[in-house]
Every structure is written in C-alpha cells, then in structure tokens.
Symmetry: C2
Subunit: 240 residues, 2 copies
Amino acid sequence: MVAKSEIKFIKSLQLKKNRMQHGLFVAEGVKMVQDLLDSGLRVHSVYATEEGIFSGTQEEITLISASDLKRMSSLRSPNKGLAVFYMHGEDSPGYEGWNIVLDDVQDPGNLGTIIRLCDWFGIRNLVCSRETVDCYNPKVLQATMGSIARVNISYTDLSEYLAAANCPVYGSYMAATPVYSSEFNANGILVMGNEAHGISENVARFLTDKISIPSAPGSGAESLNVATATAILLYELKRP
Amino acid sequence: MVAKSEIKFIKSLQLKKNRMQHGLFVAEGVKMVQDLLDSGLRVHSVYATEEGIFSGTQEEITLISASDLKRMSSLRSPNKGLAVFYMHGEDSPGYEGWNIVLDDVQDPGNLGTIIRLCDWFGIRNLVCSRETVDCYNPKVLQATMGSIARVNISYTDLSEYLAAANCPVYGSYMAATPVYSSEFNANGILVMGNEAHGISENVARFLTDKISIPSAPGSGAESLNVATATAILLYELKRP
C-alpha cells in the first residue's frame, strides 16, 4: 500500500526543478531498473507490481498495484516496476583520458545516445553546459539503455572547465581537418555543439584543433546528426 | 480552393497501402518540400498557404488556407506547405560501389538516419527487406532531412538480391572481426540487422565476412543502436 503523498512525490520528480531540489530521479521498466540496481547507484526506493522481478538489492521492495504504478509513472504503459535513485554526486569533472564536452545539446534522444556511446567506448567523463538537456529527463534515461550508471555526467560552466584544461581540445565542425588525418593522444577533450547552432563562440575560443567528418563528393546532405557524428568521432579517437 | 475529395485523397496517403497503390507520397514543411523539389523527384501536386514560399518548380502551386492545410496534414502544427511526389521507380537494385542491405529495420527514426548517412557517405543503393519500415512513412521522411531524394531505396527479396551478388557481403555483429582489422575493396555489400534480433538466419547464409565495432574493455553497454553502428561502419568503409 502506498500513501497518496508518496505517489505525489514520485510524480513530482518528473520536473527537473524537483529532481534538482531532492537530488533524486526516477527510473522505469524492469530492464532499466535492474540495470541501475546492478550498477551500484545509491537506491532511494523500489516499487514492483509482482514479487521477484528485481534481484540483487538490499533495499526493501514495496509491492504495489498496477493502478498505483500507473499513477506514479510517466509512461502510458508502465512496465511492472519503478525505482527512485540518488543522482551522481556533483564532483568537479576531471581531465584524465578522453572527455566529451556538450555545448547545449537539446534533444533528449541525442543526449541518451551519446551517453550510451560514452559507455561503449569507455569514456568516463561527459561534461555538459548548464543549458544541455537534463540527463535525468525520462526520455534521456530511456535512450541511455542503462548506460547512465556507468558514465560520470556533470553540468558545469564550460569556460571554467576548458580554461583549466592542460590537453588538446578538439571541436567538431562541418568543414575542418578530416578526423582521419589527425593523430590523437591518449587523452584530450572533444567538444560537440548544439544541434542547430554548433559550438558557441564562448566555447570555441578554448579549442586547440577543429576536426570534421568529410562527406562524399557530390553528397547533398547538409550535416550529420550530433549523436551520429559523436559515434564516428569516438570510434576514430579510440581506433587502435 | 481545394475539393474535399482532394483533401481526403492526400490524407489517405498516410497509409502505406494507399501510397503503394498510387505510387505517391506526401512531404511536409517548407524545407523538406523545397529539398525534394530541388532534387528533381517527379512532382504530383504542391500546396502552399502563401505565395512565393517554394521556388524552382514548373508545377502549378495551389494556394490553400491554413485550415485546409491542417486537414491534409499528418502534423499537429503543419508548416505552410505540402507536396505530393511520385515514388522512386522500382528498378532492381544493382551491385556497383558499396550497397547497404537492411534486414527488417523497424524503427522509422533509424531508417531515416540511415538514409541520411547513405547520402552523406555517397552510398547510392539502399536495399531493404520487404518487412523493413516503409521509407515514405512520414516519420522516416522527417528524419532523412531531404536525403530520401538522393538515395536509391528498393524493397526486395533479400535472398534473391544476395544470391546474385558477386562481391564480398559483410554482416554487422556484436562480436566478430573488428572492423578496423578488415581491408575493404571499392565495392561490396554491408548487411545491418533488425533492432532486436539482428541478422536473420535466412540472410546470414549469404555473408562472406562478419564484422563488429569493439567496445572498450569494461564497457557495460550491451549494444549500439543500429543507426549509430551504421554510421561507424560507413565511415570506416569509406575511410581513405
């Protein structure tokens, strides 16, 4: 049995300002919740409509009715369970290895895909401008496929972060040095820009190199999507 | 002034069976329509709510009211114009250069992104199984950003197409030879599988090589999205 106030509280976490205030976010669906339980993220509370659907957590699992789950959920067809987790701590992002910087990426699907890519390619730090879409937005979480637990994501002032960098800072552009002509070190920073406006002037002044993914001669496509471009650049940075 | 029957006809093209029956599809929005007009696709009819928003077509442009446009449109907020185009002809797909085969890709966003990637990387033939999502689906069209006009897309029996191939046929897998260890010729076929089930057995028997995009040691991500993987593989195939 769940109190009305508890349902209301969980619902309230659909808004960013409430997530920020409490340092909590909601994950939904059997697979996503289990992935996050396995990842070692700190757990606040877990709800399930059946016994035995989640494993490997010391936390008490509250059994609830399907209709209560529906009242808590942001999904049209909620899937058996939901859990509330503590957000990552707000450590200052570091500079070891390769680090990805996002300058105002707005689309939740793009951010979710980029988080999943960081996980795939072993990027530990994803550093976002404060205007980048919130990584605990339900649409972002869904697109990360559980990778959110394995990537350190911070929201910070990019000027401060980049000004203190002591490594090459690459920016992705439509026309610049082809990425396959560059030699990459074992560490560095790659900056990806906003979907419509690219990298802002404020951030561009910290770049040491501009790189691009050349299109085929005669291609009519104007651009690559930012998540697609990130995929190719991460692949190339990490290519042996 | 538009007749009710005309509005009804255009609305009917939102269904695949009606598109197939008439060989026509609908494009919406100023940019998309203009891109397709510029591409030389054969035009059936063009509608606009203002004069002068489309250029470079010999076709008569029918001026309509915003409310008529809304009645024709599949969008919640239609954007000033809409046009009906003839589909590409149903030529049998060829084997020159690099050709991409899709084995039951289901998500419209993925197909749209892959079409845009083919355009970017100069792939002329995209060969889809008959169960692959329809490329004239409005969500696919939106994701292609106009690239649909510049890529030859065919829906065919993949067994027949692959059985007649006289070039290497690569398939994308989760674990196989790393793509950067392969030497690619100037021509070949790359097969990408369904989002959940990968490449079907029926298609797998035609592969000459299996390739994969290795993840970083310790990565927890289970897979890459099919559009993301296509981006990386096309980049690598075309890498000088």
